[in-house]
Every structure is written in structure tokens, then in C-alpha cells.
Symmetry: C2
Subunit: 578 residues, 2 copies
């Protein structure tokens, strides 16, 4: 099913209009205010202002009151198109320097304006037709933001808000924000002892504890178990390469600022890898390939590095060392469809396994009117795009096609899904690539004995394991399912007398391959049970006099009030991990 | 059993004298020759010369003839000690500028000289008492070498040779060298498609193919299977850290030249990690520990980086990206012995598994006369050293104690073993460390409720996986045992008609967890069998009409002439991997 784009939705219009209403309220608060920009964003909207007096979060109530009045008045939202000259004249009259700068940067002949009452704003739209359609809104926070995102330009005040078509939807969203705050992975991570940051190591460089590493490895092993069935093989590469590799790949010219560079004592320039594809091309290029030997599918979970600015870093969501569960497939054009299908299967299985819902895909195609912008033959593009859309239909997927959003080197598929908080995430991506095979001269001998260029498919499944885990920790609120839980069981002997029997239970669990801890600390049983609960351990196994006598274990399941007694020899049933 | 040091052995003296005899022969070849240095080395000796006319490997026969004469003459080797001034005078008379430079650099009051016939050489010895004791020798190669290893100084000519106490030993060694050349991992690596180097990625940065990665991973998984029984846990870290981490650890001051440094856009200095211990200290330091919670044992197979000079690189033996199967144990002083015992077990098991023989250990202790040179309390050192030697005895190990060879921060155990070519390698190392716990303030609360410093144990088992594999490839000559072989079986259908049945065999092998390839290429069966043999695949499974009819497989084992017929349902017996 082909989906509506957010940009075309009623919700988008509501939020867009809400941002204009916010601007009117800001003007009421400070008649000297200068307006910058005010777009809708994923979960709401913002507007950037230059105030002549300070605005704090305490003032948001005042702004909300002004906004409510404008909404209750149900004022019409009028659209008009002016010539560039007329538009500029109008803006200049209003003493709005940021708007003047915006207009001067626009090359279109016509400029759109949306007007509510006295407030006319340069804007492409779309908007709702009257302010009454903004049924529910809420201002959320105040932050600083550089004009045009440039730290050398003026610091403006950004007001964030959200709006919905009904109060019910707004309330659900606010409740979700509240819940998300409680589940914040930046809090849960240290609390569950999963990862840490060290000032000496540096910001944005997470260190993974034994428990956190079990999460990483268990997820990665699961993805690998799906990949191995599809014929993938693992390769390994160093985290650096000479700058020559990235000059040839094109990354040097495009991303030089983001690259971490090393000057060696001999005067070579090495680069800490920003992605793995160039290294993998070199593994593929080690020999000549027959059409019978393709596809070659190389998987490699490894870190890449970005020279992010400190201010941009956020927990695991944005880091400087990013672990990708990366893979590159080198195949013939006639194998692209089957390979995509295989990746699609893997993505669906993983998302289902972790309980993400509403899988949908976003197909980024080329702009058919500008064929010169793209590398590779038109017929290869057409075939690839047709196959992608066919695949989406075949898979009964919700999908959106965005012409003109492909990279110059190939079309792309983004997989989106919703977590338990109903937040939509873009995680896995498949990218077709005709550029690197051209740059690195990656060929095979086809059935007619001629050299032909391979197509390269980039397919990370979790994408960044750090970002994936930031979502997953919040999705599960740290209550990981049994298969993923770093500690699956805690053994609690009631007193020191029963530690020996606790050890026997431990041996049994070790034989079953269960990840457990034996907590024989000299604390009270109650405290140890609470501790296990705080650590969100799925099963607590209590052993005392009765259990020793009967060769049993008393099992408390996470979240369940009732305990049950299980024979030591039947513990396997408790942990039959699905 | 406490072993003799090589430096004290007769063999060492023989080689040392042989190098002086070589110098005499060089003088006969070129009376203008200038002498630099001529020490014994691990498997022989060398001498560095500045010749006035070129010397090539074709001239080695001439030198050998001169040497044989000197040996047959059985000339006495006389030792004398001169005062520094007398020695300098003697050397200056001889117009030997390198020797003058050497003497000028020596601060001792007395200088040793060894004289054979007319040739008197500045030398600490020891030597044999007459040239006739050099029973067997051979000159091996000629190479360039910078004076004092400094590329800004003169390029000298180095002549390598070897010598033994008997012709039989020499012949065995030469046969071994010949065999080693055939097994050279730099040749076998690409031939067996295990690893490659790319000019674009850079020298010393190996890329691991699917097959090579199976070797790495299988070995690493095996070491992990041993470690997990000893209570180790895996952690994970980024490959960079701020320079602050290495300033605190002390590596910055000591190894700054070898470090690969990165300047970020914000002006921070990051370092590509040269070792993992500083990162691991930060994981340990995340919380405070009770004595009951120790040891904490962190294992982490990950790469470290050294800014090696291009000229020093050699295949996998010396690389810029080094994968260490590293581990750090943080324990109480009273736990050191058990932890060492555990590591010892792991090392012995691995060495036995890969068939290394004659495990021996080298204990590096402090110099008891210079207690101030070492960090940490004397009683802790005494206890640790006593425990190490006790352990060596308890394990019935061949061991050597070297007082004064410990690092300032703790005693060390090196494990040596011989491969199938009888070459001795130093691979695993255990290092006790009282320095990093002090620098990073790593403590635990002891049973009396007081803070006490932990002891850190560094324990890589394979050490560098690259170097370990360079040895292992040559040790096995690429004929890896079944458990390690990247491809354990090749299925060869006699003709296209039997590919379907080949697929059925493949399914069976997949279910058995066997690593296989189905070679249905359109080449002759003979060629495919030879190809499998060249690839040193342990089992070749041939299927044709008879096999289809009988539901069997014809099995050829590597190195065996006779084939045998095995039922499809009984293939598991062939692959019962030990």
C-alpha cells in the first residue's frame, strides 16, 4: 500500500499553522521581536525568534494563552503568491532582517505568503484554512539555535511545540513524552550497568560493560543467524586506511571535514574509517570473478568514526564511534531483486523479533526529468526502481515513493517502524550503488566472457548498534525479553547455609547455557530480591531449607506476583528460550 | 626445571666466535673493510661491514672458504681487558671509525677485547676458546642495514650466517629454513585466500577474507571457550580516546612517537589506541567494588595500532593494525596466584590444541639490589615473584628466571613454545601491573572496610592474532586441522546431472554445521580435485551415478590415497570434530 507522505498530511498543516500562530503570540509578548523560520518537524513544530527581552520556559504559559485566543477566533489563513520584487518590498517594510535575508536567497520568480489577521509570513505552506483547525497544541521547551545553524551567526531563541487534530491525540503524545523521559536510555544505561562514558576517554565514545556487551553481541549474533542463511560471509578490516582510499572513493572530497585524520611519522595521511564500503571493495577486488561466483556477500560488524561536534552528542543516539552491522553485496544486475528480498526478510525478522510494529518503507528514486544528475545507465535505474516498487507490493508493505531523493549513485530503501511508545524510527537502510563499482573498477566476467560492472548493495540491518540500542532500551524500558536479558536469572540463597545448594543450581544453569548471577551477598533476602527487580532480571531463583530437601527451586518471574516451585531437574522448562 | 639462558650456552659462544671469523674473512675479501658490529642472534649471527667494493650473495662462497681455513687452523681466542684509554688508542691505530665511535660511547673503565690471530675486536664476549670449536657454519644472506639502525646514518652491508656445534645440527637447521621458505605465510596467505594487502588501504594493514576470518574467529572462539570457564566476561571499547587517557596512563610520555594522533575540528587530540588497558581501567572504575566482587576479568579481542616504519613491516609478522585477544584481570593481592594459574591453564590448552611443543616460561623479576627502581611494596613483589616461581614448579615447567628484567611496574611471565619446524616462539605473556592501578586509583573495599589497591593482570593468550596466524600458517603449512580449516569439505558432483544430489549433500553438511563449498564449476573432475587439494581442504566428497543410487558419498581424505564410501546419513561420523 502506497502511503501518504507526512508533508501532505492534515497533521503537517496543523503544525505549520500552529507555528505561525506562535509567531503572532511572540509578537504580542514582545512587539520588537524579529522572525526567523518556523517549520513543522517530526513530532511538532518550532519557531526561531530574536527577542528584545529574555524569554524563558516560564513565559510559555503566556504565549499559549495568546495562541488559544487566536485559535478560538478561528481566523482565516489566506494564501497569496507575489512576484519576487513585491514580496521583497513587503518584507523590507516590516523591518524583519532575517526574512529579508531569506527572500534574497530565494531565486524563484514568485514568493508564497500566508496571512492570518495582521501577520503575513513568507511561507511555502501548506496550511489549514483557518486557525480553528488547530484543535490541540502545547508549547514544550525553549532552546538556543544559531541562525541558519551556523555557529558564527546570531544565536536565536527557539520555541518548540506540538499540535494535533484532537485533544485526545495530544494527550496521548504528551503521556508518551512523559513515559519516554522515564525510560531515557541515558538514565537506564548506567542504572542497568550497560555502558558508560569516561571523561578521560572522551565524550561520544561509549565503553561497553559486560552486560551491555551481551546486548550488543546477542543482537549481532541474531542478525548474523539470519544473514548466514542468506549466504553471507564475515570479513574483517582495520579501522584505518590511507587517504588514497577515500580520495578514490570520493569520500575525501565530500566529507573531509568529518574525517578523523592521522599524520604518520613518515608523512603519510591515514584516515579513521567513516564507513566500511571502501575497505570491502578492496577485499572483493582481490581476484577476478566469474558470473557463477556472484553474489559475494561480506558482513562485518565494526566501528566507524565521525568527528561530531561535542554539542551534537547525545547518549547513544549520537556518538563519535558508531558500530555498524554492515554488509556489502557484490552482485550481477539480474541478482539485485533476490538480494533485496533477502535483506527485506532479515529486516522484517529482526523487527518482529524485537516487537517493532507498522514496518513501512520509503523508496528514494531518481528524478526522471533530470537523468544527467545520476550515475549509471537509465535502463539499470529503471529496472532497479521497478523491482524495488514491485518488491514493496509483493511484500504487502506500506510504502512511500520519493522521486528525486535518490543519491546520485543509486536508489535507496529506508525501513521505518514504531516502538512500544509509538515513536517512528528509521533504522535499516538498503542502498543500491553503481558509483563505487565504477570508481574501483569492480567487475565480473559475464556468461558471454565479457567484463561487466557489478552492482553493490549496502545493507546494514540495525544500522548503528548504539542508536539501535538507544531505541531498544527505551522500547523495553530496560525490561529485556529473556533471550536478550544480560542476566537471565539470579540465584538467591536465603542464608549462607544454602550457598552450596545455590552453587549446584548455578552448575545446572551453566549447563543449560543460562546467563546467571549467584547473589550470596550478606544482605537481607528482601533487599536482594528488590535489587534483582531493579536490575530487571527475568527470573529470581530462591533456595532455602525446603528447596534443598526437595531438590527444587522457588521461581519468581519478573512482573508476576505468584511464585512457583520447580524441580532442579526441570529448570530447563523455565528457560526454554524462544 | 630451571633452564639455562641462551646467552650462557655453548651455542651462543660458537656463533659469537663465528661472527669474528666472518670479520676476518671479510678483511681477506676487502682489506679496506671497516668493521661495525657482529653479535650472535636467535638462530645465528651477523656482522655489519662497510666494504670498499660491492659484496653480493655470490661472494658468500669465497667468504666461507676463508672462514673454513681459520676454523681448520684451530686458532686460540684470547681475551684481555684494557683500560678505556689503552683500548681507544689500539682502535684508533687501526683506522676503524665505527669501532672508535663505539668505544667513545662506552662509559666503562675497562674494555674487553677478543683476539684471534691478527684480528683483535672490541667485544664483551663470551667466546669459545679456539676457532676449531665452530664445528659447522653457513653464511645465509646479505642485506643492507643502517649504522645503529638509524636511517639518517650510513648504510652498511650485513652478512647473516648461522653456526652449530655439529654438522648434523646445522643440516637440520638448514632443512628447516628450506621448509620454512616453502611454508612462508606471505605466499600461503594469498594462495589459500586468507588475507590480502591493498595499496589503497596501505602497507601493514591486512584485510581478512571470509576464509581468513574463519581462522581468526575460530581461534578466538576457542580461546573464549577456555576463558569463559575461568569467569571472564567480554567488554567492548572504541579504538580511540582523548590524549588525556594516555597522559594519565604514562603511555603519552613513553611512546609518543609510536602513537597515531588525530586532531579534531574542535582542537581535541585523540589517539588511536596503542593498547587496551587504559580503556579497560575506565570500565573497572565505573563503580566502587567490594572485596567479594573481585576478581573482575575483562576480555576483549580488538585491534591496536602502531605507527611502524614501512621498512619494518613484514607480512602478518609485523603490522600496523594488531588484533589482540586481550584481557585484564582486576584482583586482590591474595587472588593473583589463582588468576595466574587460570591463565596458565588456558595457554597450555591452546598450545596443546595447535600442537606446539616444549612449552617453557621465562620469568622476568626485579633486581633485588635496586628496590628503588620498582613501583609497589617490596612484600607484594616478593610474594608475587615467589608465587610465580612456585607455580612454574607446580606446573613442572621448564623455566628461566631473569632478575632485573621485570618492568618497573611488575613481574612478567613469557610463554615460549616450538612449532612443527622446531622454531621457538614467544607468544603469550602475563604481566602483573601495580602501576596502572596506582595511576588510575583502582581500589576495592577490603574485608576490614578499608580502601586497598587492586593488582591488574594483563593476559593476552594468542597475543597478536596476526603474528599468531603467521606462525600457525607456517606451522601447519596451510594444512589446518579439521576444526580450524576454513573449508572443511568440498562437494564435487561428477557432472551437471548430479548437482541436485550435491545440493542434498550440502543440506546434510549444513545441518551438521560443516563449513563446505559445492564446486559445480564446469571444469573436469580431475581439475576440481586438484584444486581442492591445492586449497588443502580436509575432505573431498564426490557424487555421481552410483552415489545417487546408493544414497552415499565417496570421501577422499586429505593426504590419503584410498577413498571410502559413506552413507549420506552417516556423514556425521566423518566430521566428528575433535
Amino acid at each position: 500500500m502506497k502511503n501518504e507522505e507526512y508533508e501532505d498530511s492534515q497533521l503537517y498543516k496543523i503544525r505549520h499553522t500552529a507555528s505561525h500562530i506562535l509567531a503572532m503570540a511572540a509578537h504580542e509578548f514582545d512587539p520588537e521581536v524579529k522572525f526567523a523560520i518556523g517549520p513543522p518537524i517530526e513530532n511538532g513544530f518550532y519557531y526561531d525568534f530574536e527577542f528584545s527581552k529574555p524569554l524563558t520556559e516560564d513565559d510559555l504559559g503566556t504565549l499559549e494563552k495568546s495562541m488559544s485566543k487566536i485559535i478560538q477566533a478561528n481566523l482565516a489563513v489566506k494564501h497569496e503568491m507575489l512576484s519576487h520584487k513585491e514580496g521583497l518590498t513587503r518584507i523590507e517594510k516590516e523591518d524583519q532582517p532575517y526574512k529579508v535575508e531569506l527572500v534574497e536567497g530565494i531565486e524563484d520568480e514568485k514568493l508564497g505568503f500566508y496571512t492570518i489577521d495582521w501577520f503575513s509570513d513568507l511561507c511555502k505552506g501548506p496550511h489549514v484554512s483557518s486557525t480553528g483547525e488547530v484543535k490541540a497544541f502545547k508549547l514544550l521547551s525553549v532552546a538556543g539555535a544559531y541562525w541558519r545553524g551556523d555557529e558564527k551567526k546570531a544565536m536565536l531563541t527557539r520555541v518548540y511545540g506540538t499540535a494535533f487534530g484532537s485533544k485526545k491525540e495530544l494527550d496521548a503524545h504528551l503521556a508518551q513524552l512523559e513515559e519516554a523521559k522515564k525510560r531515557d536510555h541515558k538514565k537506564l544505561g548506567p542504572q542497568l550497568d550497560l555502558f558508560l562514558f569516561s571523561e578521560l576517554v572522551g565524550a561520544g565514545l561509549p565503553l561497553w560493560t559486560p552486560k551491555g556487551n551481551i546486548l550488543r553481541q546477542t543482537l549481532d549474533d541474531y542478525v548474523w543467524s539470519l544473514r548466514v542463511k542468506k549466504g553471507y560471509q564475515k570479513v574483517e578490516i582495520p579501522h584505518i586506511a590511507k587517504s588514497d582510499l577515500y580520495k578514490k572513493s570520493g569520500h575525501w572530497d565530500k566529507f573531509q571535514e568529518d574525517l578523523m585524520k592521522i599524520e604518520t611519522r613518515e608523512g603519510h595521511t591515514f584516515v579513521l574509517k567513516p564507513m566500511n564500503c571502501p575497505h570491502h571493495t578492496q577485499i572483493f577486488a582481490r581476484k577476478s570473478w566469474s558470473y557463477r561466483e556472484l553474489p559475494q556477500r561480506y558482513a562485518n560488524t565494526t566501528m566507524v568514526y565521525r568527528d561530531e561536534q561535542t554539542g551534537e552528542l547525545a547518549g547513544l543516539s549520537r556518538v563519535r564511534s558508531i558500530t555498524q552491522d554492515d554488509a556489502h553485496v557484490f552482485c550481477r544486475p539480474d541478482q539485485v531483486k533476490d538480494e533485496l528480498l533477502a535483506v527485506w526478510d532479515i529486516v522484517s525478522e529482526l523487527y518482529a523479533k524485537v516487537g517493532f510494529k507498522d514496518l513501512s518503507v520509503h523508496l528514494s528514486f531518481r528524478d526522471p526529468n533530470q537523468p544527467d544528475k545520476y550515475l549509471g545507465e537509465a535502463r539499470v535505474w529503471q529496472k532497479a526502481e521497478a523491482e524495488l516498487e514491485q518488491l514493496a507490493k509483493q511484500k504487502n508493505a506500506n510504502y512511500v515513493v520519493s522521486p528525486g531523493e535518490a543519491a546520485f549513485y543509486g536508489p535507496k530503501v529506508d525501513f521505518m517502524a514504531r516502538d512500544s511508545l509509538n515513536r517512528q524510527w528509521q533504522l535499516a537502510t538498503i542502498q543500491l550503488d553503481m558509483n563505487l563499482p565504477e570508481r574501483f573498477d569492480l567487475n565480473f566476467i559475464n556468461s558471454e566472457g565479457k567484463e561487466e560492472q557489478v552492482i553493490m548493495i549496502h545493507a546494514a540491518i540495525m544500522g548503528s548498534i548504539e542508536r539501535f540500542l538507544s531505541v531498544l532500551i527505551e522500547h523495553y524500558a530496560g525490561d529485556f525479553p529473556l533471550w536478550l536479558a544480560p542476566v537471565q536469572a539470579k540465584i538467591l540463597p536465603i542464608s549462607e547455609k544454602f550457598i552450596d545448594y545455590g552453587q549446584a543450581v548455578a552448575t545446572e544453569l551453566a549447563n543449560l547455557g543460562v546467563r546467571f548471577e549467584l547473589d550470596d551477598a550478606s544482605e537481607t533476602l528482601g533487599k536482594r530480591i528488590r535489587n534483582a527487580e531493579n536490575q530487571k532480571v527475568p527470573f529470581v531463583l530462591i533456595v532455602g531449607e525446603k528447596e534443598v530437601a526437595d531438590k527444587t527451586v522457588t521461581v519468581r518471574s519478573r512482573g508476576e506476583v505468584e511464585q512457583k516451585t520447580v524441580k532442579l531437574t526441570e529448570l530447563g522448562n523455565v528457560f526454554s528460550i524462544k
